[in-house]
Amino acid sequence: MRYVRGAAIAFLLVTTVACLFANVIAPEGYAHQFRELPNAAPSRQHLLGTDDLGRDRFSRVLYGTRVSLVLAPAAALLASLLAALIGGTAGFLGGWFERCAMAATDLFLSLPWLFLLITVRALLPLNVSPFISVVITFALLGCLGWAAGARVLCADARAIAQSDFILLARATGISRVRLLWRHLIPNLKPVLEAQFWIAIPVFILTEANLGLLGLGVAEPMPSWGSLLRELENFSNLPAQPWLFVPLIMLVLVVSSFDLVLSKEELLI
C-alpha cells in the first residue's frame, strides 16, 4: 500500500508540474483554432488531434488539468478554512454559540448540495469572462462545501477544549487568543488537513458534473467538465478513442487523491 501511495503522490506531482508549465509544454494556446483542421486525428503536430473547432486537444487537456488542479485545492482550502472558523470556534466556545452554529450547519447540510449550487450559479450574470466564470464556479464550491467539515471540526475542537492540557493551560491564566492560537489550532491541523484532501476530489468531480451539464466553466476556457462534453458524441467514440483521454486523466487524478489519504483519514 505504501508503494501505491508513493506512486499516487508521484503521479500527482508530475501532473501538477506538467499543467503548471502548460504554457511551455502545450504546442498551442487552448483557444487557438486551426480552422483548416477540425476534428483531426492525432498527429505529430496535434498529439490528441483537434476538436470540432480545430483546437489542439492536447493543449486543452493540459490547460483544463491546470484549471482543475489549481482551483479545486483553492476551493478546498476555502471550504476547510470556513469549516475551521465556524466548526472550530463553535467547538472551542461551546454553549449557545455552538448550538446555534451546529443548528445552522445541520440546516445547511439538509439543503441538497448540487441543487443549491446550480441555483446560486444561475443567479450570477451571464456575460462574465471565462476567467471570472472559473473563479465563480470554484469559489461557489468552496463557499458551499464547508458544512460537513465544520461538523467534524466542531466535535474535535470540543474534545480538545475539554482535554486536560487545555484545562491546565487555562489554570495558568493563558489568554483565550493565545490558547486558540498555540494549543487548539495546532491540534486541529491533522483533521483540517484530512478535510482539505477529502474535499479536493469531491470538488473536481462536482466541477466535471457541472461542466458536462453546461453550468461550469465558460468556453473557450477548458476544464475537465467541458472537455468531457465531447463524450456526448457517441458516434465518434469508437473511431476516436483519444476522446477518452480527459476521462482517463480525471479518473487517475481523483483516484490518486483518494490513495494519498490514509485509511484513518478516510474514516473521518
Binding site: S110, L111, P112, L114, F115, L205, N209, E232
Partner: protein, 285 residues
C-alpha cells in the same frame, strides 16, 4: 423536549429558512421586476422605468409577506421559462424522480451492502481487494459520465443513481461491519462455535444499525443530487431535469421551489432515520 418535537422543529425551520433564502434570492436576483412588455420598442426609457417601478415599489417587507402568503396557500408561483404553475410541474415530475431515486437507492444498497457483508463474512483478501478497487473506480467517475455510458449502452438509466451510491455504501458499511466484527464479544462468539449467519444477524448488524440508518438517510440526499445529471443527460422527465432546464433558463423561482422540496424530503429522511436509530438503541438497551 421529546425527539419528535425536536425533529418537527427542525423540519419547520428548514422550510422557513428555505423560504426566506428563496424569497431573498428571487427578490435580489438580476432581472427581478423585469417584464416581457419592456421589449416593446415603442416604449421610451422613462416609460420602462415607470413600469419597473410600479412592479417593484411594494417594498421588501410586503414582498416577503406576499411570498410566504402564497407559499402557505400552496401557490409556488409560475415558471418563467415554461410558463406553467410550478406546483403543476412538480406534481407531474416528482413521481418520476421518486421512482428513479427509490430504484437507485435499492440497487446501490443491495450491491454495496451485500458486498460489504460478503467481505466481512468470508474474510478473503482478494475479494476485499477486488471490491475495494471496484468501489474506488466507480467513486472516481462523475455521475454525468456514468449517465452517458448508460445511454450509450442503452442500459436502464435509473441504475446510475445506484452506482453513485454503491461505493459510498460499500466503503462505509464495510468499515463499520469490520470494526464491529473485531469486537471482543464477537470474537468470543465465534470461538464458541456460533455460525457466521448467527454472528452477523445477532451481533454485528444490531451493533451497527444506528450508523447504517444514518448512512441510509445521507444516501437519499446523494441520490437526489445524482438525479440531476442522470435525468438531464438521459432525458428522463423528473425534477432533476427540470432543475437543469431552470438553471439554463435562469428560472430562479422554479429552481428555489425544487431545492426546497428536495431539502424537505432530505430532512424528512434524516428525521425518520434518527427516529429509527433511537428506537433501535432503546430496543437494544
Amino acid at each position: 423536549m421529546s425527539v419528535f418535537a425536536k425533529h418537527a422543529i427542525r423540519v419547520v425551520l428548514v422550510v422557513l429558512l428555505g423560504g426566506i433564502l428563496g424569497a431573498t434570492l428571487i427578490r435580489f436576483a438580476p432581472g427581478f421586476g423585469v417584464d416581457e412588455a419592456e421589449l416593446d420598442t415603442r416604449l421610451n426609457r422613462e416609460s420602462i422605468e415607470a413600469m419597473r417601478h410600479a412592479r417593484t415599489n411594494d417594498g421588501v417587507v410586503s414582498f416577503y409577506v406576499s411570498y410566504f402568503g402564497r407559499l402557505f396557500r400552496g401557490d409556488l408561483g409560475m415558471s418563467q421559462t415554461l410558463q406553467r404553475p410550478v406546483a403543476e410541474l412538480l406534481r407531474e415530475r416528482l413521481p418520476e424522480t421518486m421512482k428513479a431515486v427509490g430504484l437507485g437507492l435499492a440497487f446501490g444498497w443491495v450491491l454495496g451492502f451485500s458486498m460489504a457483508v460478503a467481505v466481512v463474512t468470508w474474510r478473503v483478501w482478494y475479494f476485499d481487494l477486488a471490491a475495494g478497487i471496484l468501489a474506488g473506480v466507480v467513486l472516481c467517475l462523475p455521475a454525468a459520465v456514468m449517465a452517458l455510458a448508460f445511454l450509450l449502452l442503452q442500459a436502464p438509466a435509473r441504475l446510475v443513481i445506484g452506482l453513485v451510491i454503491f461505493p459510498k455504501v460499500f466503503r462505509y458499511s464495510r468499515n463499520l461491519l469490520a470494526r464491529s466484527a473485531a469486537a471482543p464479544h464477537i470474537i468470543t462468539a465465534r470461538a464458541k462455535g456460533a455460525g457466521e449467519a448467527r454472528v452477523l444477524f445477532w451481533h454485528v448488524l444490531p451493533a451497527t444499525a444506528p450508523q447504517l440508518l444514518a448512512l441510509a438517510a445521507v444516501s437519499v440526499s446523494v441520490a437526489f443530487t445524482a438525479a440531476i445529471p442522470m435525468e438531464a443527460l438521459c432525458d428522463l422527465p423528473g425534477i432533476g431535469q427540470l432543475a437543469w432546464k431552470a438553471a439554463l433558463g435562469r428560472d430562479i423561482a422554479l429552481l428555489i421551489d425544487i431545492t426546497m422540496i428536495v431539502a424537505l424530503i432530505t430532512v424528512l429522511a434524516n428525521s425518520v432515520s434518527d427516529f429509527a436509530g433511537h428506537a433501535f438503541q432503546r430496543t437494544d438497551a
